[in-house]
Assembly symmetry: C2
Homo-oligomer: 197 residues x 2
Amino acid sequence: MRYRREDVVDRALGVLDAYGLADLTMRRLGAELGVQPSALYHHFATKQLLLAAVADEILARGPHTSRPDRWDDAVALACRDLRDAVLAYRDGAEVVATSSAFGLGAAAPYDDLVGALAAAGLDADLVPVAARTLLHFVLGHATDEQTHLQAGSAGAIEDDPRPDSDFAAGLGLVLDGIRLRAQDRSGIEKRPTRPGA
Amino acid sequence: MRYRREDVVDRALGVLDAYGLADLTMRRLGAELGVQPSALYHHFATKQLLLAAVADEILARGPHTSRPDRWDDAVALACRDLRDAVLAYRDGAEVVATSSAFGLGAAAPYDDLVGALAAAGLDADLVPVAARTLLHFVLGHATDEQTHLQAGSAGAIEDDPRPDSDFAAGLGLVLDGIRLRAQDRSGIEKRPTRPGA
DNA sequence: ACCTGAACACCGTTCAAGT
DNA sequence: ACCTGAACACCGTTCAAGT
């Protein structure tokens, strides 16, 4: 059987979701495709590049909500989309975070955020800072969530399941910090930051 | 030669700083100590628990600045201390972040932040949210920095070296978001959030 | 273009046995 | 209490050779 890049990535997603990142090995993936591990190196020079392609595919398969007019709503939705995308696959957050850190893939969310932040009227050198701060929060939060999920199912750790409101609250925190520096600060008056908002 | 837990951790720190996390293997560490790899399992049940002890030691060796009176200064300094601690060892941020995510160690920074945030007069259930948001930012930022550092020295990626001001700017963002929710909001008026502060 | 087969240089972990 | 020696079940990657 002969495969193309996209077939390999598709099967890698399947192995990832079914067995987790630790079991997504070149040998395991080869066996799953009925092929020698060495055959995979015809499609990807290294495992790291395979994982970058997997990360990009996770993001491509995630939701791409149409951006609302208000810049802060657009930023919040970009974060939601990213979160939903990585939570859809087991260990998805870690795969995306690692590829993103190595600069080998997962550039789309950063570009999305920079685009959405452009309308905020921020100081130019604050845009990348804000984008990366949001990225660290979303991916860090999702990684924690998925780590505790499998740790809980393995019975290793006894821990509270962080609710979805936890994400919203943390995002609101960072978003308000950005709003304070934005030219258009209408979001702060419009949305009280005290509980009950 | 016979070793105790602390000797093993100390040598692990040395291997980590000299060769990086990827080369910190049980076999390598055993060789470095002049001992069979299996001997390490007398001190640590798994490699993960060894790494948790390494993470705790990295944090213990880091700075522990005395906390100022203002709650927001105390929070900022706790973040600085954490950052300085993990940056002092190669791949320190990743080691601490991983152990922290697995809940096997590195609990001190979270407790520090919760302690410093207690004086902010936040809604009770916002304190853990704020603490984790800060943790995600500090460790995510430091991990990025260290990843790009070794990627740059390996010549793999060409990337801007993010300056130290980048960290301060991101921290200011999150901190302002917390200040907005604090009972004592004097920090917002006292410290203009626009550039030139 | 895509794959096989075999090899190289490794991993974490277990376990009986030694001192 | 701490370690050895040997094994088990794996890794990522390379490379000549096949079709």
